[in-house]
């Protein structure tokens, strides 16, 4: 007897449908799985056998052959347990099989027949929807994640018995979920952040710089001694970034679903991510990969912030890996058995000390580093990587008087300004295939970053007297564009450019080191 159950498998960030075919014939009792199953799939036969028995069904003492089609793509993960079990029950006529092929089935079984939650439910449900199936059977705990997608009926089940009951038409207790909440239509999610800009006392200049960074999606480098609040303020950057759109949320939730990092019962992720990898991270941890490919930190920071504390402590080869994703907003991992592309559109925020002892440039303390040491420290960040960091800011230690001062602008107010600036950019670049000022190419810069006469004179003077490098030129223009956007102006004025010229601190460093 033959039965067919539909399920899904993950490839990169996408999911595709898999046919689980079960054939039961006479012969010596055996249970074989073919169709490139991974270890977790191969082991499922033990779980399925126990679960069927413990849920008071009969496990056939016959020759069972199981095929996972398409048979040329490797399949992994324990979520094939439930479709395999249903396939066996259908093939032995312990349950009706007439409506079985209208649904996809996902779920991991425990030995007693209960169903455990699995990773990657969201992309699987999307694939189910695209293939035009009627519904999807998911573990009870993955119900919220599955319910996000419209147009597909999601059925949450607790046990193998529940699943069988559903196909018999006897299952009445499906989980009730609030779709609006899950799809983040209700706007109550801003309170979910655990910090606010108003908690950061003093550091007005740094806050302004980060506001510009958020508005133009510029990468930032903060240079300052330990204890100046770099980490504290970096953690709060997501609070001033614009709220995520539904599409962004969906994409991010897919990534977290596959990485197994999603918290249950919350549906789509509404908070922009803040990833904070330690500098001992490996290359695979940073960009993704592995034998079973998993997204790395840069993909987990998609639509959010990747914070690299103490940037020079990161191995240089890890930092160089970031160059291409920063440009392309995605990373392609090519391995012997798969080539996978993960999205990686993140804002990079770095922090570092001015030198190893922390006092270089401080007029009131003697720096004990030799010039060679300072140069070595700075050279950890290569020129090409530095090119991709538009804003560089030096941060001073906080003064005690600042700590007692009044609280300043809160995140909501800044966020509003950032959102307005982003809107201006979206409007301006709607035909250019870019979204932010940081993405401006030289050609587009000529078109959109025009300076008026006084601006041109200022730029010329600044170049001469500040000894700016050529690469500083485009960075300053991009930043000036964002400052003008924050000001709500279509043209870049002299004052915007003058402000932008202050955020080129690293150039000052190099100049000081040259002799």
């Amino acid at each position: 007897m033959l039965a067919q159950v539909k399920s899904c498998s993950i490839y990169g960030l996408e999911s595709f449908l898999v046919d689980v075919e079960v054939d039961i014939s006479s012969g010596l009792p055996a249970f074989d799985i073919v169709g490139l199953p991974d270890i977790a799939v191969r082991e499922s036969k033990e779980r399925v056998r126990a679960a069927i028995k413990n849920q008071e069904f009969n496990f056939p003492i016959k020759r069972i052959t199981l095929n996972l089609a398409p048979a040329d793509i490797r399949k992994e993960g324990p979520h094939f347990d439930l479709p395999i079990a249903l396939g066996i029950l259908a093939a032995t006529e312990q349950m009706p099989s007439d409506t079985l092929n209208e649904y996809a089935v996902i779920g991991e079984l425990s030995l007693d027949g209960r169903i455990r939650p699995v990773n990657g439910v969201l992309p699987m449900v999307i694939a189910v929807k695209e293939s035009g199936l009627k519904g999807v059977i998911v573990p009870w705990e993955n119900m919220e994640e599955a319910a996000v997608i419209d147009g597909v009926e999601a059925i949450g089940v607790n046990s193998l018995k529940d699943a069988v009951a559903y196909f018999k038409g006897e299952y009445k207790t499906n989980k009730i979920v609030d779709k609006d909440f899950l799809r983040c239509k209700t706007q109550d999610n801003d309170t979910a952040f655990d910090g606010d800009f108003s908690e950061v006392k003093g550091q007005e200049n740094l806050k302004r710089c980060l506001e510009i960074a958020a508005a133009g999606h510029h990468n930032v480098l903060m240079i300052g001694p330990p204890g100046s609040g770099k980490t504290m303020i970096a953690r709060r950057i997501p609070t001033i970034l614009p709220s995520m759109t539904f599409e962004e949320s969906l994409e991010l939730t897919k990534i977290y679903s596959i990485a197994g990092l999603i918290s249950n019962h919350s549906g789509l992720i509404k908070k922009r991510p803040f990833r904070f990898p330690h500098h001992t991270i490996s290359a695979v941890g940073m960009v993704g990969g592995g034998r079973i490919p998993k997204p790395g930190e840069i993909t987990l920071a998609h639509h959010g912030v990747l914070f690299l504390d103490e940037i020079p402590e990161f191995p240089r080869d890890i930092l160089e890996l970031l160059r291409q994703p920063l440009e392309d907003e995605k990373v392609t991992i090519a391995r012997a058995n798969a080539t996978i592309t993960y999205p990686a559109k993140f804002m990079m925020v770095g922090s570092m000390n001015p030198c190893q002892c922390g006092f270089f440039g401080d007029p009131f303390h003697e720096c004990t580093c030799s010039l060679h040491q300072i140069q070595k420290y700075l050279s950890k960040i290569s020129g090409p990587l530095m090119d991709r960091i538009d804003l560089q800011l030096e941060v001073a230690p906080v003064k005690f008087s600042d700590l007692e001062g009044p609280s300043t602008t809160d995140s909501m107010t800044i966020k509003k300004r950032v959102e307005d600036a982003r809107l201006m950019q979206l409007e301006r670049y709607k035909e250019c295939n870019i979204y932010f000022n940081s993405q401006l190419t030289p050609a587009l810069m000529n078109k959109h970053c025009k300076l008026d006469k006084s601006g041109k004179i200022l730029m010329k003077e600044a170049f001469k007297s500040m000894k700016l490098s050529a690469r500083a030129h485009s960075k300053i223009l991009k930043v000036a564009r964002t400052i003008a956007d924050l000001d709500g102006k279509r043209l870049i004025k002299e004052s915007h450019l003058a402000e932008a010229l202050q955020y080129r601190n690293i150039d000052k460093y190099y100049q000081n080191l040259k002799i």
Binding site: G202, Q203, E204, N205, K207, R208, P354, F360, G361, D362, P363, F364, H365, E366, C367, L371, L393, E394, V395, A396, K399, D402, L458, E461, A462, S465, M466, I483, S495, H496, A498, E499, L501, Q502, Y503, N505, K508, Y509, N512, K514, I515
Partner: protein, 364 residues
């Protein structure tokens, strides 16, 4: 007196100082005599002990002065010894003048009146400005600026002189064919265009720490006086100043902030009696040199101040001659950071303030 070959040969023997070389040179007159000398003859010379005698005998076979001269010629290096007319007069007067100078560039400048400008390798923005300004002004009076081409103040002193197109001399603490620090290769080329570089060390001598005090005595010995711009409490620049005093030359020191660790050394010198210098006139007066008539450089600044807008003036009031961090400027000026940043750029371009690393600003 001896011949050049003998001096070059003696100069190349390690452990032989200028004084011993002089006594040896007086004894032997010419190189061939020296080669033939027996150990007993050497031991008779005052100051030559057993160990040094063995050294001399060991090395005199290895050292070939004619080959050294040939190599120098190939590299475009001119060798000047105490016997030559080109040997700088002032340097000859010191207690232990180096017997041999390897030179590159126009050495006629060595007969100009010279001032040494030295200081710490890690210079502050203030020290950098001072070194450039003084070197430029002095060099434009055709005063030769002598320094060590080290990092920091030394390099800025040379730069200032080059800006004025005036003479400058770099004294090396290594063989003249070695460029140290290596990043100064372009600076050296600039120096050669309007001045010269010299070294008392044989070709190929690496830049070892022991060489530098010997180099410092040449820097001070070439000059009428030594100007110390910035120096930490224990600094090579103070050694140069000491040599200068021993050689009977003047020592000048630039005052700085009492908070600046790199001003400790110069303040120490002032306490010990070095002349406090505010402008080149202070130096010229002390050396009885004529000063140019219109050296009033402060007029430009006052004109600039009148061109400022009200906002610019109010922010400039907050910024002092003591470095101040931008966060403090924002706090004290009671303006928001975007306005302050924009105004700071304008003030910077108008030359009223300088930006320093660390987000600090200082009034010029």
């Amino acid at each position: 007196m001896a011949d050049n070959a003998l001096l070059i040969a003696l100069n190349a023997i390690p452990k032989l100082g200028s004084i011993k070389i002089q006594s040896l040179a007086e004894e032997f007159k010419c190189y061939d005599d020296f080669l033939k000398a027996k150990p007993e003859d050497l031991l008779e010379i005052p100051g030559i002990g057993k160990i040094i005698c063995e050294k001399i005998i060991e090395y005199r076979k290895k050292v070939d002065p004619n080959r050294e001269i040939e190599r120098a010629n190939q590299l475009g290096i001119k060798i000047v010894t105490l016997l030559d007319k080109e040997y700088p007069e002032l340097l000859k007067q010191i207690y232990d003048p180096p017997p041999v100078l390897y030179t590159k560039g126009e050495i006629a400048f060595l007969h100009n009146k010279s001032i040494a400008i030295v200081g710490s390798r890690k210079a502050s923005a203030y020290g950098k400005n001072v070194a450039m300004k003084f070197a430029k002004e002095l060099a434009s009076l055709t005063i030769n600026i002598v320094s060590g081409m080290a990092r920091g103040i030394d390099s800025f002193a040379h730069k200032g002189a080059i800006d004025a197109g005036g003479p400058t001399t770099a004294v090396f603490g290594c063989g003249i064919d070695i460029i140290y620090p290596p990043e100064n290769i372009s600076l050296m080329k600039e120096i050669l265009k309007c001045g010269c570089v010299i070294s008392s060390f044989p070709l190929g001598t690496p830049p070892q720490a022991v060489n530098f005090p010997a180099r410092n005595r040449i820097i001070s010995g070439l000059s009428l006086g030594t100007l110390v711009v910035e120096a930490a409490e224990k600094s090579g620049s103070l050694i140069t100043a000491d040599f200068s005093l021993e050689q009977g030359r003047e020592v000048f020191a630039i005052p700085g902030s009492i908070f600046n660790p790199y001003s400790r050394g110069t303040h120490k010198l002032i306490k010990q009696g070095a002349k406090l210098v505010e402008s080149i006139d202070d130096i010229l007066d002390e050396l009885y040199l004529e000063s140019p008539k219109n050296s009033n450089t402060n007029t430009a600044d006052s004109v600039n101040l009148q061109n400022l807008s009200e906002t610019e003036k109010s922010i400039l009031e907050v910024i002092d001659y003591q470095p101040i961090q931008i966060e403090q400027i924002i706090n004290l000026s009671l303006r928001n950071s975007q306005e302050v940043n924009a105004v700071l750029t304008c003030l910077e371009l108008k030359g009223c303030i300088s930006a320093l690393p660390g987000g600090y600003f200082v009034r010029n």
